[in-house]
Amino acid sequence: MGEIFRRIRYLINRRRFDAELESDMEFHREMAARAGRSNFGNTLRMREQAREAWGWTWLDRLAQDLSYAARTLAHSPGFTVTAVLVLAIGIGVNVAAFSLFNMVALEPLPVRDPDSLVRLQRRSPEIISGQMPYATAMFYRDHAKTLSGVLTMMGARLSIEDDLEPVKTNFVSANFFRELGATAAYGRLLVAERDEAANAPPVVVLGHEFWQRRFGADPDIVGKVIHLNRRPVTVVGVEPFGFPSLDGQGAEVWLPMTQQPYFFEGSKVLTDVSNGSVRVWGRLARGATASQAEQELLGLTNELRKQYPKDIWKDEYIRSDPGGHLHVMEPEMYKVTEMVGVLTLLILAVTCANLGGLQLARGVAREREMGIRLGLGASAARIFRQLLTESLVLALIGSAAGLLLAWATLKIVLAKTASPVWLSATPDWRVLAFVVAMALMATLLFGFAPALQIARQRQRKTLARQLLVGAQIAASCVLLIVASLLVRAAQHALYTNPGFGYERVVSIDPGLGQHGYTPAAAGEYLGQMQSRLEALPGVTVVSLVKLAPLGHSIAREDTEINGRKASIYPNWVDERYFQAMEIPVLMGRSFLPKEKNAVVVSEALARRQWPGENPLGKKYGENTVVGVAGNAHVNAMNDGDSLEAYYSAQPADMPDMVVLVKSTGAPDGLTPIAKSIVESLNPKLFPEISLLRSGFRKDMEQVELVASTVTLIGLVAVALAGVGILGLVSFSVSQRLKEIAIRMALGATKVQVLAAVLRQFAWPVALGMAAGAGIAAAASGVLRIALYGVSNLDPASYAAAILVLMAIVGLAALLPARRALRMDLAKTLHYD
């Protein structure tokens, strides 16, 4: 212990200690001289040996190496700038990807105590649901001891004053803001004591951005009355700027959950136990863990089943996920993250292979310098350390540049995607640690092998170069193939028939269930609406569907058919659905009106479930197959493997149905007319009307974005590889100028000379491409779900990618080689 202190004291007071040592030895010398002896030996060497005892020589050497590295890099600015740029891109891409992941999953939300927040969802082995009935949530709140609080949230759209556009609303439990530690910008936020009381007056909290936009940031709005869904409600406050909410669900206005029936007359949301309606979060009590909470909730669920045996599923349990981050990460999502991580690491690999090649080339140019140093007595280990330090300096500078690049990119992305205000591109400690780790890894990847080679002056440089070329080609090949697949998928999605018609369909959701309509009343209402709509000019078909196509809700069953995994998307439709959506009925027929126990399956489902047989008349669960429809991935356009099953809608389904209207011409004009029809039938309803076309466009935008990003990255990687090959070939050529000149003087044709020069690169390129294609084929199965039906082994994509790669590689190799062919033979032969 004391030793460490002494060593540190030495480090701080170095000069004094060294001076003292010198004086000691001086004195010793004087005395010895007096006694007549004068054989002293090398003073400097002795002083050095004495200093070594303090154990700081490694620090001295490091400082030496660093300053030498800096000087060397400054002397060859061309190399340094190129290397830094290349590194900036390679590391920058990785840092950007990690920053995004950090923002979404690692960084805690700026709310009170985010680590104790958990998202609670209902699960059973067969069913997944993101929402639970409000009444059940309250039951858990009242009985769970491991949870110190329960928050609920329900999204809705309400009309405001007389505006055409509804406002995005969140109904939340009154403890929402307090639990998250938010304080109002003006007025007050929701409070349990006042807003959940039995006769509490209706109040609303305005979203900050909405308040600025709609009310001109007027502080006097607090206390005024506004009308939502034509009901008067008092504004009590404005949420704080940059309030993060939970799960990224912000809103324009916030209302207390207990007041929902005030706005939706007849709504049974607060008492109904059979339909999931709210999203639920819990706060773990002090000392409780998530698994303890899950245990307790399981017990409570079983108790609840005794009271409501039909509404609680068999084997239902409540699952908790960490809720304190921007996005609730469930284990399945980590697969996507892993894939992105692998892709970005591939880019790093290309970068480092590139640089490694450059380093090796430089090493050859520094042979003389190394020779002199070795001759003067430097050990190979010393030179190796010094070369590695050079690479480290380069990596550090490159990482700093990469961090800057990533930060700038992130800022642009955040600005363009209208992301929540409180997200910032500034790196936090996790990102910084990641950057340092990347720098170290890059150093090892591109600096280690060349340093080893150069220090030992081995002549295996050709093999090393070939390996590096091969690695770059392989990595670029994989990236290009992935990009090519995604581009093809985007094309396929945009220009191929998705199996249904969306261009001229309008969907109208009257929200009957939300307003407490009974099935009978809903059936009557829908019937009236249908006749009114059919009477409009230009309307061809009106049909009913439960889960609107390209809409908010999706249902999915994951099961196995004959041992293989299958995703089935069920829907409940009336008999005119297929006509409205232009989905061909290939075999059999559509339903009869209100037909019971009938099901129409998609072609792919029929083939999987009953391969080679006629599916008509077969039993599917409790239903009989009456028809087979063409594949139409209406609710999961990206998943080419998805299967659909359409059940005949029953009277009990009526309150949840959405109306689809198909017209002959452009559907835009239908919207206001539909709105007025709905309102004239019942002025208390506020339907959600949208064009299917817009939903489709939004999905496509995303697809295009992903495809273009990956293509960009792929092209960057290929450009890097191309530059690398260019450098290596031109270097190789410059080494062999004389040999080439002799060959040409002796009469070799251009082709023969080219062959001689490029032969060493032929097999690495070929092997690299083969390896890249192989890896891409093996690993791209993961991508299937995002490929919109394009096979992950699609030959056209692979061929395109390989051709592009060959073109770039060919160009990169031929350019310098051609230069060699045009040289002045006589001059070269005489030059030495």
Partner: protein, 103 residues
């Protein structure tokens, strides 16, 4: 001289009082009847190592020739270490002698 012996010798010599470097070398030379000679190149690195380990400290003083020089002094840790070294040395020497006598 055996490399590991010097620290032990220095500690033993310093037990009787502080000395500066030259005097230390002289004392060892004389006490061993001129058999052992400590070169500068060995003495000072060893002294530095002992300073790091905390067995000796150095203080400024005036030499016989009226010059400022550092005197090395034994510390309590040094004393402890000396005792340990001496007993080890005894044991090892005894063992070697046993073998030489009887083998």
């Amino acid at each position: 001289m055996p490399a590991g012996a010097l620290p032990m010798l220095i500690l033993r010599v310093l037990q009787s009082g502080s000395l500066h470097g030259y005097a230390l070398a002289q004392r060892i030379h004389i006490l061993s009847s001129e058999v052992l000679a400590v070169e500068e190149g060995l003495l000072y690195p060893t002294l530095q190592k002992m300073l790091v380990k905390g067995w000796v400290t150095a203080e400024w003083g005036i030499s016989e020739t009226n010059r400022k020089v550092r005197f090395y002094r034994l510390t309590p840790e040094g004393r402890k270490h000396l005792k340990a070294e001496l007993s080890d040395y005894d044991r090892v020497t005894q063992a070697i002698q046993d073998i030489l006598r009887t083998a």
